[in-house]
Assembly symmetry: C2
Homo-oligomer: 454 residues x 2
C-alpha cells in the first residue's frame, strides 16, 4: 500500500493510470500475489484506486494530489526525516537546547558589526532602500567575493558570479538548470540532510558515496559514475557536513579526473570556508570553474537573518541561471541584504571576528569532546575547524532512539541516519560544539543513553 | 530545426531518444517531408542528432543540455520575450527612463519610514539580527496580515499563512506544490509577463483567457476548463497587470462557480490591493481560502529591496508548502526583512503614505493620459487606481517595433505582446504612469512612432 501511495504522491502514476498487474507487482515487490490483492482491495476501499471489470485497477480522482516532498523517496521514521530535523531546529522555542542544529549561538555572531552596518544603511541613498536589485546582484559584493577567489587561486570575472537569495537557493537554481526528473545525483553518505530534501523536491534519484576522513571514497565514486551515469555531484570539500573532514589533494585530483571522464558536473558548497585555520584543497580551484560550480553563503559566519548566497560558474551557465532566477524570484537577492553583508565583509572587524571565532570553536570542540567522552561517545575524527563533531554512540545504540528521548527534554539532536541516503549511520550523531558545551546537554544525553540501553 | 532544438532544450526528448519519423514529423509540422529531411540533415551536421542505419535519427550527446527557460515555449522575438523585458528593466542604468517598468520611482516610496525602521532594527535583540527565522516566518507580520484579511472579510488563522522570500517565490512554491510537468495552467491574456516566464520554468502548458474590462472572459474561461482540464489559474483580481481593470461581482461569482465544478485551484495575486481607492471583489473573499490561494507582497508599496511575500491557503496545503520552502530555501524569509516590513506597516505613517500615493498616482494617470493622447495613444480603460495604463497605439503600429526604437534612446518600454500568450496584443503598450510623466518619454515616443509609421 505504501509503495502505491508513494507512486501517487511522487506523481509516478496519476489519475486514470492503470496500476501494475497483481502478478507483475507481486514479482517486483517480492511478495505473494495475495498480498498485492489485499493491498489493492484496501486502497480501493479507501477510494484511492478503483477496479474496472476485466481490466485491472486504476488510480481514481480527477486531480493529482499536491506534491508531498516528505513522501518522495524512501518512507522513513519521522525522527530521521530531513524535514523533521530542519523543522525541529528552526521552530524550536528559545528555551530548547539545540546541539543538533547547524548554526552558531547568536552571541557568537558579529552583532556589533551588523548594528553598525544597519545604522549606516539607514543613511544610504533612497534607491538602495526601495528598488529591486540588478539581476546579478550587488557589484560591490561580487567584487569582494572575486578578491577572495583570487586569494584562493580562482581567476574569475564579475559575470561569472550570480548572487542568490541564499546558499540553498543557489543549489536549487542549479538543480533546476541542470537536472531533469529521473536524473541521478551523487551525494556524500553521510552528507548534509537538506541536500536530500532539496533533491527530492526535484524528483531525482540519489546515490550516496561513502565518505572517508580524506573525502569521498574515490573507488565508490568511480563505480557510481559507471553504474548510474549521474548528472551532478554535490559536496562540501572543506569541513564537510556532518563529519568535519576535508578532502585530500589526492582525492580531489582523482575525483575531478573521474568527473571529467564521465562529463559530470560538481557543485562545491563552500559555506564553511571561513572556519578553516588554513585552506584545504578545493575542487573549484583545481578545475577553475569549468565543470565545478562553486556556491556559498554568509549564513554561518555573518548572519542567517540577512540572507544571500552566490553561484560562481561558467559564464554561459550564469546567463541561463539569471533567466531562471528572474522567472522564479524576480531579480537577485535583496539589495538591503547584500549591502549589509558587503559592509560587514569589507569592514576591518570581520577578519578579527573570524579569527576569534576559530579560536573559540577550537576550545569548544575540545571541551565538547571531553564531555561526550565521559558518556562513551567518541568523535569519528577531530576536525581542523568548523562546529561539527561527528560521533559514534556507545555500542548498539540507535541515534534516532536517543534523539527522540532527548526531544522530550527539549534537547534537539541530529541523529546519524538523517544524513545517510543508505540509512547506514544509525550509530552516529552530529554535535554542534558551539551548542553542546552545556551541562544540561550532557545530562539529557546521559539519561537518554541509559534509557535507550535498557 | 527550431522545433527539434526546443524539444531538446525543454527535455521533451533527451540523449539516445529517437526523433519522430520524417513522415510523421512532416505531418505534425504541416511541412513537406523534404523540409524535415533537410532540417534533420543540418542538425546531424551540427552533431545535435545522428542517423542510425535503417532506424532513423537519434539525439546525440551523453548529457542533456542545461534548461534554457527562454527557449521553452514559443520562440519569440527577443523584444517581446518576458525575460528580455525583465532584464532590461532590472539592469537599466540610472540614466535610462523606464515607462515600461513595474515599480514606482524611488522617491515615491516610504523612505523615511524605512530609515526609521532600520535605526530601530539596529537596536533590536541579537537573535533577530543573526538567526534563521521560523519556518512560517514572523508571527508579528502574519498577525498584521490577518488583521487586514479580517477587514476584507477573510477569516483565517496564523497557520494558514506562510511568509516567503517574495511574491514571485510564493507563486513558484505553489507551482512546485501543485503542478506537474505537462499540466495546463490558465493565465489572463493579456496578463503579467513574469507569470509566463515562471510557468515555463515549470514546463507546463499555458492557455490564455481573454481579459475584459470586467475581468477574464467567463465564457472563454468555462470553455477552457472543458477543453484543457487545467490544474491552476493565476490572476490579479484587483488592478490587473497590465490593464488596471478589476473583476466585477458577476465575473467573480461565475468564475468561482466554474472553478468549483471543475476542481480548479485559483491563485489570486493581490499585490496591487493597497492602490485601490476602495475594495473591489476578491475571489479569496468569496471562496474563503478553500480553492483560492491568496498571495501578495510589499514590493510595490513599501520596498522592492526588502523583500517578502506571503501565501494564504488551506491549512494542510501550508504544511506541504513549508516542507518545500525548507527544502528549497531553508527556512522562511529573512527575519530582518520581515521585521522592517512589520515595523513600517504597523507604523502610523503607512496608511497616510498610501493615501498620498493614491492621490499622486491619480494625478499622474491623468497627466500621462493627456501626454499620450497628443501622440494618438489611447487608454483601453481608465483604471480606478494603481500605476498602469494599458494603451492602444495609433493604427497599424507594432509596439515591439516602437519599443526597440525607444530602447536605442535609453527609454525602456513594455510592448503588448510580452503580456500575451496568444501574441495578440501587438497594438498595445503598458505605461507606468509614475515613470511616464516626463517630457523626454513623450519625445522619444513621438520620434519612435514617426519612424515606425514611415
Amino acid at each position: 500500500m505504501d509503495a502505491i501511495r508513494a507512486k501517487i504522491a511522487s506523481r509516478a502514476i496519476g489519475p486514470g493510470d492503470r496500476l501494475p498487474s497483481v502478478r507483475g507487482f507481486a514479482e517486483t515487490m517480492s511478495v505473494s500475489p495475495s498480498t498485492v490483492v489485499e493491498a489493492y482491495d484496501r486502497l480501493a476501499a479507501e477510494g484511492v484506486i478503483s477496479a474496472r471489470r476485466g481490466s485491472g485497477f486504476y488510480v481514481t480522482g480527477s486531480i493529482i494530489p499536491p506534491m508531498s516532498v516528505s513522501e518522495i523517496g524512501p518512507r522513513r521514521d519521522r525522527a530521521v526525516d530531513p524535514f523533521w530535523i530542519s523543522r525541529q531546529s528552526l521552530d524550536a522555542d528559545t528555551s530548547s537546547l539545540k546541539p543538533g542544529c547547524g548554526w552558531l549561538p547568536t552571541d557568537w555572531m558579529p552583532n556589533a558589526a551588523l548594528r553598525k552596518a544597519l545604522r549606516s544603511l539607514a543613511r544610504s541613498e533612497d534607491a538602495l532602500l526601495t528598488e529591486y536589485g540588478s539581476t546579478r546582484g550587488s557589484l560591490t559584493l561580487r567584487r569582494l567575493l572575486l578578491g577572495r577567489f583570487a586569494e584562493e587561486g580562482i581567476d574569475a570575472s564579475a559575470d561569472q558570479l550570480l548572487l542568490t537569495g541564499s546558499g540553498t537557493q543557489a543549489i536549487d537554481l542549479i538543480c533546476r538548470f541542470l537536472l531533469h526528473p529521473g536524473d541521478t545525483v551523487l551525494v556524500d553518505d553521510p552528507g548534509y540532510f537538506n541536500f536530500q530534501a532539496l533533491l527530492r523536491a526535484h524528483r531525482v534519484k540519489l546515490v550516496g558515496i561513502p565518505y572517508t576522513p580524506a573525502g569521498p571514497d574515490t573507488a565508490a565514486f568511480e563505480a557510481a559514475l559507471i553504474a548510474h551515469k549521474p548528472r551532478l555531484y554535490i559536496t562540501n570539500s572543506a569541513l564537510h557536513n556532518p563529519t568535519g573532514a576535508s578532502i585530500s589533494h589526492q582525492t580531489a585530483y582523482r575525483l575531478l579526473s573521474a568527473a571529467g571522464a564521465h562529463d559530470l558536473t560538481v557543485v562545491e558548497d563552500d559555506i564553511f570556508a571561513d572556519f578553516e585555520p588554513s585552506p584545504s584543497p578545493r575542487l573549484a580551484v583545481l578545475d577553475g570553474l569549468d565543470r565545478v560550480i562553486r556556491i556559498g553563503s554568509f549564513s554561518k559566519t555573518l548572519s542567517a537573518s540577512v540572507r544571500c548566497g552566490y553561484i560562481a560558474a561558467r559564464r554561459d551557465w550564469i546567463e541561463g541561471l539569471i533567466d531562471l532566477q528572474v522567472a522564479t524570484s524576480f531579480g537577485g537577492p535583496s539589495p538591503v541584504a547584500t549591502a549589509l553583508i558587503a559592509d560587514v565583509l569589507a569592514g576591518g572587524s570581520y577578519r578579527k571576528h573570524m579569527a576569534d571565532l576559530r579560536q573559540r570553536l577550537s576550545q569548544a570542540r575540545d571541551r565538547t569532546a571531553a564531555r561526550l567522552a565521559k558518556l562513551g561517545i567518541t568523535p569519528w575524527i577531530m576536525p581542523r575547524g568548523g562546529f561539527y563533531l561527528w560521533c559514534r554512540l556507545p555500542d548498539g545504540l540507535d541515534s534516532a532512539d536517543v534523539a527522540k528521548r532527548c526531544l522530550e527534554a527539549s534537547v534537539v539532536l541530529a541523529p546519524g541516519n538523517v544524513f545517510s541516503v543508505s540509512q547506514s549511520a544509525a550509530p552516529f550523531m552530529r554535535f554542534n560544539v558551539a551548542q553542546s558545551d552545556d551541562k544540561r546537554v550532557e545530562e539529557a544525553l546521559d539519561r537518554a543513553l541509559n534509557q535507550t540501553a535498557e
